[in-house]
């Protein structure tokens, strides 16, 4: 038996002593790690994937004997700071109980600067960190030395990271560490997704041997129920708060039964928590609110309370989707749309997740059409229609940040770094010319700063790219965290005590003395000082609840397709005079609305449904391709751009998961124009999409994040921060400045490319267009907006495409004002 195998056997015995039997997926993972492979473990939450990845890594470290203490051997990367504490406890437990000669520590954003300094002096054997903290570690001058002994990197909740730029940031960091420690092995842990093979490669890098894929057999056993309330409790046509079901939810809750109420946004969670507390003040001891902006200590208290049974009802967001191993709850409620199969499975898995136990989730619809979505969801789960999650490719803003990180962290040789970067899945197709442009951008600020050597952050010394200005190094480290966050401010009581983080944009609209709800409390704003929002507890009620950016996720492809298919079937049944009850409770409950839709318009069927109507506002086109929010937004912009190319016209655009709306100010004959086959042509799709991106200012919106990540806009220099007032500008204005003076700027190009990827996924768009070309549209002229159209009217996004002159638009708005004054 090898050393590592002996150590593993000891860990296995320890598990048995705890009453846990090593699971097959754990044995498989340990064997693969022992064989020196990279891999991905994809098993349901709570089945022990932490120790699956950990024990193989720990055994390898212990095999080094006394060398285990010589430096960093195991690095554990987790996407959420909120989870770090629990994971650290889990990593520490066998070490302490077996008295193993290794040290375990964490370095995350919350870690005190004293601890951080200590950690820099002496790395522990096992280090727990976040992608941002990892990048910061890589930015220290002695990074190469610190990571030289590393054997295993574990990336936890990889599915959370992989579709975002934090995922690309992690991929680059992994490649960097492989450069420092060539033998290092990567193990990713992930929830169930459709494209796990691709995810595994993204973690292991494209230059490594194919990674092992470890999945547990069998499909998740999830029961989906709906909370429908009284027969006559009518659901509204639109809404995402869920007020109509409030009574039914209160009725269903019982503080003796541990329950998680999942909401889709932090704003919604705050509102539900307050409403429950007002209705049932006696639940105060048992009721808690948990979301990602609430202070870490408070969240830890809630998690501990949940474990001890003191807290039984928790209103939460995706902050509790992830793998903190608290005891399973008895019941899970999902308020509003589930958004996707994968997310629902994860949330459902919070209940009864002992092996063999069945998970159960109660869906609480917030509007009537959601009943259809729930019925469709049940089918999609039964069909195992789990979504893919596409890794981000070629995010040059992240690369720009990484290059500065590497330059600060001991410097790099451009040729070697280019090879290293190309070994990631995200940058596998990166061309040398593009790499050089990004390097020129960080080195000399691109064209703009080329004439100003004193502004250059990055310089060359003996062929290596380095940063020697200490102030620039510090500034860069401070900026590294910005991939995730909008500029946020700390909320704290006047007499101490932190409540959590709130977005600057919300705070800027609250005046001292005004009240708002945060962390489940009614607070009064006292003052704003630097990045601190000082508050005191207040009495009474207020509807002022912050909205956090990035709140609402779009419906997944799988779920959108399943919902469209269900509509088709229901329509056939209605036309054949059949009963809707056979489709289940939800469809039965939705039948008044469905019949109303059929009466005012048509139910969506095989052809894409188009509704045309006139209101006092103007002429409307509603189209229902069920493409999901992002693709529908793209399609709306594309059609608007194509219609606008022929006529001088201004469109307001709106989109949701089911469909899209174009509203022309004034009158516009949509019906005639829809017959033009050119409108649905796939020829010139790419050119027209770019036109649409520029017209609808989508690029301008996307640029905000890119400018921040690439260090163009310094979010720290917010409105409330002292000094640096001369640097105030918005990313939007910077976008305009670049568009006018340096239109092919690297980051502008990047913004456009990201919009094309997000909203104009060529394949998806082409599928919809070809479908319309092939089968035609079903155009219905309606006397008033139908139930499907109604939400699009109410929830209009602020996008416009115009091919009219500003003068004409001003004149028309003026004319309308005069009409109103006259009337």
């Amino acid at each position: 038996m090898t050393d590592a195998a002996q150590h593993l056997e000891r860990l296995r015995e320890w598990m048995r002593a705890q009453g846990w039997c090593p699971q097959p997926h754990q044995e498989e993972t340990w064997a693969a790690r022992a064989a020196g492979r990279d891999g991905l473990v994809c098993v349901p939450t709570g089945t022990g994937k932490t120790y699956a990845a950990y024990f193989g890594a720990l055994a390898a470290a212990l095999a080094e004997g006394d060398g285990a203490r010589a430096g960093l051997r195991v690095l554990w990367v987790t996407p959420l700071r909120a989870m770090a504490r629990d994971i650290e406890a889990a990593l520490l437990r066998p070490v302490e109980e077996l008295g193993l000669p290794v040290s375990v520590a964490s370095r995350i954003g919350d870690t005190s600067s004293y601890r951080k300094r200590k950690l820099r002096e002496r790395m522990p054997t096992v280090l727990l960190t976040t992608p941002e903290s990892l990048s910061i570690l890589l930015s220290y001058e002695d990074a190469a030395e610190k990571f030289a002994l590393l054997q295993t990197v574990v990336v936890d909740e990889w599915h959370e990271l992989v579709g975002s730029k934090r995922g690309s940031q992690t991929e680059l960091a992994l490649a960097r560490m492989r450069g420092f420690a060539p033998g290092v092995r990567t193990w990713a842990l992930s929830a169930t997704l459709g494209n796990v093979r691709e995810l595994a490669v993204a973690a292991a890098g494209v230059a490594s041997a194919p990674p092992a894929l470890i999945q547990s057999g069998g499909r998740a056993d999830v029961v989906i129920r709906s909370l429908l309330g009284d027969e006559d409790a009518a659901l509204p046509w639109f809404g995402f708060l869920g007020g109509a079901m409030f009574d039914a939810v209160v009725e269903a809750l019982d503080p003796r039964v541990s329950t998680l109420l999942f909401t889709n946004t932090r704003n919604q969670a705050e509102r539900w928590y307050r409403a429950l507390l007002e209705r049932r003040p006696e639940w105060f001891e048992h009721l808690a609110l948990h979301h990602g902006s609430i202070d870490a200590d408070e969240r830890a208290r809630i998690e501990a309370g949940l474990n001890s049974g003191r807290v039984t009802l928790v209103v939460c967001t995706s902050s509790l989707d992830l793998g903190v191993d608290f005891a399973p709850v008895e019941r899970v409620l999902q308020i509003g749309s589930a958004r996707g199969v994968s997310q629902l499975l994860q949330r459902a898995g919070r209940s009864g997740h002992r092996p063999g136990a069945r998970s159960e989730v109660w869906m609480v619809p917030t509007h009537a059409m959601q009943l259809m979505e729930i019925a469709a969801l049940r089918r999609a789960v039964a069909d195992g229609a789990v979504e893919d999650r596409q890794p981000v490719t070629l995010p040059l803003d992240v690369l720009a940040q990484h290059l500065v990180t590497c330059a600060v962290g001991g410097g790099f040789d451009p040729d070697a770094l280019y090879r290293e970067v190309r070994a990631t899945a995200a940058f596998a197709s990166l061309e040398r010319a593009t790499f050089d442009r990004v390097l020129a951008f960080v080195e000399a600020g691109g064209e703009a700063l080329s004439a100003y050597p004193r502004f250059h952050k990055v310089t060359r010394a003996a062929g290596r790219v380095v940063v020697d200005d200490q102030a620039a190094c510090r500034a860069h480290r401070m900026a590294i965290g910005t991939i995730t966050q909008d500029s946020s401010m700390r909320v704290r009581y006047v007499n101490g005590g932190t409540l959590g983080q709130i977005e600057e944009r919300f705070v800027s609209r609250v005046r001292p003395g005004e009240r708002f709800v945060f962390a489940g409390r009614v607070l009064e704003l006292v003052s704003i000082r630097d990045m601190d929002v000082r508050v005191r507890a207040a009495r009474g009620r207020t509807d002022h609840v912050p909205k956090w950016v990035g709140g609402r996720l779009p419906l997944s492809d799988s779920l959108a397709v399943a919902t469209a298919a269900l509509f088709s079937e229901v329509r056939r049944a209605v036309e054949a005079g059949g009963a809707l009850a056979e489709f289940g409770d939800e469809v039965g409950r939705a039948s008044p609305l469905l019949l109303r839709q059929a009466q005012l318009s048509k139910l969506p069927g095989e052809q894409v449904l188009a509704e045309v109507t006139e209101t006092r506002e103007g002429s409307h086109l509603f189209l229902f391709p069920f493409g999901g929010q992002l693709a529908n937004e793209g399609l709306a912009a594309l059609i608007a751009a194509r219609l606008g190319a022929a006529d001088e016209v201004t469109f307001a655009l709106s989109a949701n998961d089911y469909g899209l709306e174009l509203m022309a100010a004034g009158s516009f004959d949509f019906e005639a124009r829809l017959r033009d086959p050119e409108l649905w042509s796939t020829a010139r799709l790419d050119d027209d999409a770019i036109e649409a991106v520029n017209g609808a200012e989508l690029g301008r919106r996307q640029f905000r994040e890119i400018a921040r990540v690439a260090g163009l806009v310094q979010e720290g220099f917010g409105r409330f921060r002292k000094g640096a007032r001369q640097l105030q500008t918005s990313a939007g204005l910077l976008y305009d400045v670049f568009a006018e003076h340096e239109p092919d700027h690297l980051l502008l190009t990047q913004a456009r490319r990201e919009v094309l990827q997000r909203h104009f996924d060529r394949d998806r768009l082409a599928v919809v267009l070809e479908r319309i070309q092939r089968e035609g549209l079903e155009v219905v002229r309606t006397a008033q907006p139908s139930p499907l159209a109604f939400p699009l009217l109410l929830d209009r996004v602020e996008a416009r495409i115009s091919t009219e002159s500003e003068l004409r638009r001003v004149e028309r708005i003026k004319a309308r004002w005069l009409e109103q004054v006259g009337a």
Binding site: F441, G445, Y452, A664, V737, R809, V810
Partner: protein, 209 residues
């Protein structure tokens, strides 16, 4: 757009300027010369030529209305980096016969004195011109002459008929009149069109609301 203010004929130009034909005076506010250079000094790589476009437009406007004097209602410069630019000395050379005046604004305080080559006559708080008192910030005007000023970068939001626009504007209240920011690289304060006669810049035209 030609209108009348305090008995004076006033031309509102889409270039974001006011021309007083009787006095041959061109009035602008908030040029923020050197803003790009300030960003560059702080390491933010904004493109070159941003400020140059504003000054070129100013030069063309002076020529188009054959102005005899130019009055900048504050914030001629953004920060001291403006001193590194040569746009304003070029403006001076291109219009040797035009009298250049600036009423100092809050940003101008970053520069103790303007270079001689710029040829500006500086006014500390305000300057009198015809029936008007020229200032940077909207103050005064209660008694005495009518105030014309900049500082706020006023914008008007137009909403209706299913459309929405946010446009730079001139707004003339009872005692104070606001000029739009001359520089295009700025956002602004939204004003309520009901607070006075409001004129928006719509492309190449100025339109009264």
């Amino acid at each position: 757009m030609i209108t009348e203010l305090q008995g004076e004929r006033v031309e509102l130009l889409a270039a974001r300027a006011v021309f007083l034909p009787r006095l041959g005076a061109l009035l602008v506010a908030d040029l923020h010369v050197g803003k790009a250079e300030t960003f560059q000094r702080m390491g933010v790589p904004v493109p070159r030529g941003v400020g140059g476009a504003d000054v070129a437009r100013l030069s063309a406007t002076i020529r188009a209305c054959a102005a005899r004097s130019l009055w900048v209602l504050g914030d001629l410069v953004h920060d001291r980096d403006a001193l590194d630019t040569d746009e304003m000395s070029r403006l001076r050379r291109d219009h040797p016969d035009v009298a250049l005046h600036v009423v100092r604004g809050n940003h101008d305080r970053h520069v103790p004195a303007l270079p001689d080559a710029w040829g500006f006559e500086e006014h500390a708080a305000h300057a009198a011109l015809g029936p008007f008192d020229l200032r940077h910030e909207p103050e005064g005007g209660d008694a005495g002459p009518y105030t014309l000023c900049g500082h706020l970068h006023p914008m008007a939001k137009l909403q209706g008929a299913g459309d929405e626009l946010l446009l730079p504007c001139f707004q003339f209240g009872r005692r104070i009149g606001l000029l739009p920011a001359f520089t295009t690289w700025s956002s602004g304060v939204r004003v309520d069109p009901a607070d006075g006669r409001t004129f928006v810049v719509a492309g190449d035209e100025v339109v009264e609301l």
